[in-house]
C-alpha cells in the first residue's frame, strides 16, 4: 500500500511532497547495488591481468587493478580491498562515484576489444564493501614521530592526507568549516551513488586508524588562521575545495527561485525526509557538468514534472561524461545544447527562462538572434565553483592555489591538494591522490629536517 503524497508532479510552484514516500525511497536507493560473490567472480574472470596495465595508468591513485581483481577471482576479497586501500583510502567512495567510463574502464583492453570493459568500479566496490562490512580497518600506525600537522578541509583530499600522515606516525588536527566531515562526499555527491549513509560511515571507518583529531565547525579565516596553524604545527595541508559560485550574468539572476545547484544538492543530501524537500514543477538547470546532471536528475527523482539542462556549447563539450548524460536522459531529463539563458523572468518568483541559441566561432561563443522560452518555476545554476576564502599570502594560478611537486604551495610548510589546488581534474579520486602524495611529501620533508 502506498501513502498518498500531499502534492503531485503537476502541483505548481516550488513545493515538497510531489511523490509518495515509497517512490522517493525507490528513486534514491542504491543505483548500482553491490555484486554477489558469483557475479564478482564471473566479472573478475574477464580480467586479462595485463602487463603494465593501462587501467592502472588511467587511475589517478594508481590502484593495482589486475592484482586486486585476481585476488577477488581467487576468493580473497579482503586482501583485494587491502590492495585497493593501500593506494586509495577512499577506495569505497571512489568505487561508487568515479566516472570509470572516462578513467580505468575506458582504458581497459576489453573496452578496445569488445566495447565491454571489465567492471572495475563494481568489483572495487565488492572488495571494499566486503572488508568494511566486516568492520576491519586494515592499517596500523607507525611509531609516534611527535610531529603535528594541521589539515584544513575534511573532504577527500584532506581525509586522504590525514590518514596517510597518521599511518606514518604523525599527529593530525583535522579542521573543517562544516559540522560534518566528508566534504562533497557528504554534501555534494548524488544521493543514489552513496545510499545508506555511506559517506559518514566511511569517514568513521577511516578515522579508526587513530591519531587524527577532528575539529568540525572550525573554519580557516573564521576560528583559525594560517599563521596560527603554521606556528602551532610542523606542516599545514589545505584541502578546502571550491566554496565560491560563478555568476550567471543573465538578467533576473536575483529573482526568487533561482538557486545555486550545489546548495540545493547539499540540502538534499542532508534532508532527513526527502518528502519535505521542495522542488519546482518545471526545473531548468544551467550548466554542463556533473553538478548540472546531479541537480537535474535528482529534481526529477523528487517529482519535478519537466527538467531541462541548458548548456551553452555543443554536447561533446559537456564535462559530464557520456554515461552521465545518458543517465540524465534515461531519467527523463531533456538536454538542450548550444543555447544560453539571456533573461530569467517572473513577478516575484521565476516564471520562465528566455534563451538564445549560440554559435561557436573563432572569436568565441556568440549569442544568436533566435530566442526561445522555457517555462520554469525553479532555476539551478551549475556553472562551476571557484576558490574562495583562502589566505592572500598563497600564490594562485588560473584561479586556484599554485603548487609545485606534490602540492607544495608558495608558502613554506604549507601544502595544498584537491579541487582548491591547480592541476588535475576536479574529481574525488584526484583529490585523494593529491592528498596522499602531499602527505608522503610532508613526511619525507619532516624526516629529512
Amino acid at each position: 500500500m502506498t501513502t498518498a503524497a500531499p502534492n503531485s508532479p503537476l502541483s505548481p510552484g516550488i513545493v515538497a511532497g510531489r511523490l509518495p514516500a515509497e517512490a522517493l525511497a525507490e528513486n534514491f536507493g542504491d543505483i548500482a547495488p553491490v555484486m554477489d560473490m558469483h557475479e564478482a567472480r564471473v566479472a573478475a574472470d574477464r580480467c586479462y591481468f595485463c602487463h603494465d596495465a593501462p587501467c592502472v595508468t588511467a587511475c589517478p591513485t594508481a590502484i593495482d587493478i589486475p592484482l586486486f581483481i585476481r585476488q577477488i577471482a581467487t576468493g580473497t576479497p579482503e586482501v583485494a580491498a587491502r590492495t585497493i586501500l593501500s593506494q586509495n583510502i577512499l577506495g569505497g567512495m571512489c568505487a561508487r562515484v568515479c566516472p570509470t567510463e572516462t578513467l580505468c574502464e575506458e582504458a581497459c583492453v576489453r573496452e578496445a576489444a569488445e566495447g565491454k570493459p571489465v567492471e572495475i568500479g563494481r568489483l572495487q566496490r565488492f572488495a571494499t564493501d566486503t572488508l568494511m562490512e566486516a568492520g576491519v580497518h586494515p592499517f596500523t600506525r607507525a611509531a609516534p614521530t611527535g610531529r603535528r600537522i594541521a589539515v584544513v578541509g575534511a573532504g577527500p583530499a584532506g581525509l586522504a592526507c590525514a590518514h596517510r600522515l597518521a599511518m606514518k606516525g604523525h599527529e593530525v588536527a583535522l579542521y573543517d568549516a562544516r559540522p560534518k566531515a566528508g566534504g562533497l562526499n557528504e554534501y555534494g555527491i548524488a544521493a543514489y551513488k552513496v545510499a545508506g549513509g555511506f559517506a559518514a560511515a566511511e569517514v568513521e571507518w577511516l578515522l579508526q586508524i587513530g591519531g587524527i583529531t577532528l575539529h568540525p565547525g572550525r573554519a580557516l579565516g573564521r576560528e583559525i588562521t594560517l599563521e596560527g596553524l603554521r606556528a602551532g604545527h610542523d606542516a599545514v595541508f589545505l584541502g578546502v575545495g571550491l566554496q565560491g559560485v560563478n555568476a550567471l550574468r543573465a538578467e533576473g539572476e536575483a529573482i526568487e527561485g533561482v538557486r545555486d545547484a550545489v546548495a540545493f544538492i547539499a540540502d538534499l543530501r542532508q534532508a532527513a525526509d526527502l518528502g519535505a524537500l521542495p522542488v519546482g514543477r518545471d526545473v531548468v538547470v544551467i550548466g554542463g557538468g556533473m553538478t548540472a546532471v546531479d541537480a537535474a536528475v535528482q529534481s526529477k527523482l523528487l517529482g519535478a514534472e519537466t527538467v531541462t539542462i541548458l548548456y551553452r556549447r555543443g554536447q561533446e563539450r559537456m564535462s559530464a561524461s557520456r554515461d552521465e548524460q545518458e543517465h540524465a536522459t534515461a531519467s527523463g531529463v531533456r538536454i538542450i545544447c548550444n543555447a544560453a539563458p539571456v533573461a530569467i523572468r517572473g513577478a516575484g518568483t521565476v516564471r520562465e527562462v528566455v534563451c538564445a541559441y549560440t554559435t561557436e566561432g573563432a572569436d568565441g561563443l556568440k549569442l544568436g538572434p533566435e530566442t526561445f522560452t522555457l517555462r520554469a518555476d525553479q532555476v539551478f545554476k551549475a556553472i562551476g565553483q571557484q576558490l574562495a576564502g583562502v589566505p592572500g599570502v598563497l600564490a594562485l594560478t588560473g584561479g586556484k592555489i599554485a603548487v609545485t611537486g606534490a602540492g607544495r604551495t608558495s608558502v613554506p610548510g604549507v601544502w595544498a591538494g584537491g579541487d582548491c589546488a591547480a592541476g588535475g581534474e576536479d574529481l574525488t579520486v584526484t583529490a585523494v591522490a593529491e592528498g596522499r602524495d602531499a602527505a608522503e611529501d610532508i613526511h619525507a620533508q619532516l624526516a629529512g629536517a
Partner: protein, 433 residues
C-alpha cells in the same frame, strides 16, 4: 600474519613459491626479475654437458589448449634443456646466489647416464654455491630420445643408480624430478629414496599432442607440416599431479620423503592443495609464463590470509593436513548416504541437471510444470553429476542422511561406518570383528 617462510630439505626461502626449471629460470635477467617480484626460489633451467650448445627447433615450440574466452588451460612444449653455454649459466648462477642470499636457488641437471658425466658437472655446479640440485628425469620429449630425461625416469633402477652417483660425488641436497609418464609413481619415488635423494619433485610434463590442424593434418605445434609429441603442463594437469603427490605422501615406503609439488599451480589455492597433500613447497611454470612474474603477489597474499583465517601460524601447519584423509576406495564408508537437494530459490531453471540425470544417470530428477526441477530421493544415487553441471554455485547440494534414517532408494537403514572389506556382496569379505 602467518609466516610463509619455508625450509625445504634445509633450503630456506621466504615463501614456498618457487619457479620450476623452465624458460622463466633460464637466465640471470629472468631470475633477478622473478626475485624482485617476490618469488621465494627458483630451480634454474636444466643444464646439460659442456660442449656444443643444445639446438632447439626454430619454429613454434608450444601448443595450447584453450577454454572459453581463450583462457589457457594447458600448454605443451617441445623445448629442450637450456641452449645457452654451460659456462655462462654457471657464472650467472654464482652471481645471482651471491646477490640474493635469502632466496632459494637450485640447479636442474640432465647429463648422459654415465658416472663420469655426472661427476664432472656436479663439481662445476658445486662451485656456484647454489643451494642444491634437481635431477631432471622427467622431460618426455627430445632428450628422452637420447636416453635422458623421462627415459631415465621411467626405469626405477636408472633413477636409483644416478641418484647414488650424485650423492656420492656431491654434498649438495638432491631433489629428483619425476615424470608422470609412468604406471605407478610410487616406484620411481622409492627408487629415488633408495638412491639417497633428499626429496622428489613432481610432476614434469605429461606426453601429449594438443591438437591437429584439420587442413594440413599436422599435429600442433607444427614444424613445417610435422609435429612431435610434447609435454603438457598448466591447470589441466593439476589433478594428475595432486594424485601423484598424495600417492607418495601416503605410501609407507616414501611417506617421509619430502615432496616439491609441481603441475598447474596458478593461484594460492592450488598451492595450498598441494601442500595439504604433503608437498613442502610448490613450483610454478605455466602460470608465470601466462601471466608474468607478478602473479606471485596473489599467491603470497592469498596463502597468508588463508593461514590466518585457519589460525595457522606457518606453512608447516598446513603441510600434509589432508594426507590422512586420502584412502583407498575399499575403505570408504558405504553408510555415508547423501541425496541431492535443489534450492528452488537459487534455481534459474536451465534444466541442465535434468538433462544430465535423465539422459546419462539415474532418472532421479523430476521436471514439473513451470520448469520446477525436483530430486526424487527414491532414485537418487548421490552421484554428484547434477551438482557438477549446475551453473549456479550452491544451488544443488548434497544432504547427508542421519544415522537411523531410511534411504528411500534402497529401503536400508543408515548404519554406522562400514566399508567394502566387510560388505555382504564382497566374496573376499572378512567377517566383521
Amino acid at each position: 600474519m602467518a609466516n610463509l617462510a619455508t625450509s625445504f630439505i634445509g633450503i630456506k626461502s621466504p615463501n614456498p613459491f618457487w619457479l620450476a626449471s623452465a624458460p622463466p629460470t633460464d637466465k640471470e635477467y629472468n631470475v633477478v626479475r622473478a626475485y624482485k617480484a617476490g618469488w621465494g626460489g627458483v630451480v634454474w633451467k636444466t643444464l646439460g654437458l659442456d660442449g656444443p650448445p643444445i639446438v632447439n627447433v626454430n619454429g613454434p615450440r608450444y601448443g595450447a589448449v584453450w577454454g572459453a574466452d581463450r583462457r589457457l588451460l594447458a600448454m605443451n612444449n617441445i623445448e629442450l634443456i637450456t641452449d645457452r653455454p654451460l659456462e655462462v649459466n654457471l657464472r650467472e648462477i654464482k652471481q645471482v646466489k651471491r646477490d640474493w642470499p635469502d632466496r632459494a636457488l637450485v640447479v636442474s641437471l640432465m647429463v648422459p647416464c654415465d658416472e663420469e658425466s655426472w661427476q664432472t658437472i656436479l663439481k662445476r655446479v658445486e662451485e656456484t654455491d647454489c643451494d642444491g640440485v634437481e635431477l631432471n628425469f622427467g622431460c618426455p620429449h627430445g632428450m628422452s630420445e637420447r636416453g635422458m630425461g623421462s627415459a631415465v625416469g621411467q626405469v626405477p633402477e636408472y633413477i636409483e643408480m644416478v641418484t647414488r652417483w650424485v650423492k656420492k660425488h656431491s654434498r649438495m641436497p638432491c631433489i629428483v624430478k619425476l615424470t608422470p609418464n609412468i604406471a605407478d609413481i610410487r616406484r620411481p619415488a622409492e627408487a629415488a629414496l633408495r638412491g639417497g635423494a633428499d626429496a622428489v619433485s613432481l610432476i614434469n610434463t605429461v606426453s601429449s599432442i594438443t591438437s591437429v590442424d584439420l587442413d594440413s593434418f599436422s599435429p600442433e605445434p607444427s614444424i613445417g607440416g610435422k609435429g612431435a609429441h610434447g609435454g603438457l603442463c598448466g591447470p589441466a594437469v593439476k589433478p594428475i599431479a595432486l594424485n601423484m603427490v598424495a600417492e607418495i605422501a601416503r605410501n609407507p615406503e616414501t611417506r617421509d620423503l619430502p615432496v616439491s609439488g609441481i603441475g598447474g599451480v596458478t593461484t594460492w589455492r592450488d598451492a595450498a592443495e598441494f601442500m595439504a597433500l604433503g608437498a613442502g613447497n610448490v613450483q610454478v611454470c605455466t602460470a608465470a609464463m601466462t601471466y608474468g612474474f607478478r602473479i606471485v603477489q596473489e599467491m603470497i597474499s592469498g596463502l597468508s590470509q588463508y593461514l590466518d583465517d585457519k589460525g595457522m601460524s606457518g606453512v608447516d601447519q598446513l603441510i600434509g593436513r589432508a594426507v590422512p584423509n586420502v584412502t583407498d576406495w575399499q575403505y570408504l564408508n558405504l553408510n555415508y548416504v547423501t541425496k541431492a537437494q535443489i534450492d528452488q530459490d537459487a534455481c534459474i531453471k536451465c534444466g541442465r541437471c535434468y538433462a544430465a540425470c535423465e539422459d546419462t544417470s539415474h532418472q532421479a530428477i523430476a521436471m514439473k510444470p513451470g520448469r520446477v526441477f525436483e530430486v526424487i530421493d527414491a532414485e537418487c544415487v548421490a552421484c554428484n553429476l547434477c551438482v557438477n553441471v549446475c551453473p549456479v554455485e550452491n544451488c544443488i547440494t548434497m544432504k547427508e542422511l542421519p544415522l537411523g534414517a531410511t534411504d528411500p532408494r534402497t529401503g536400508a537403514v543408515v548404519g554406522p561406518y562400514a566399508n567394502w572389506t566387510t560388505h555382504l556382496n564382497n566374496p573376499m569379505a572378512k567377517a566383521a570383528e
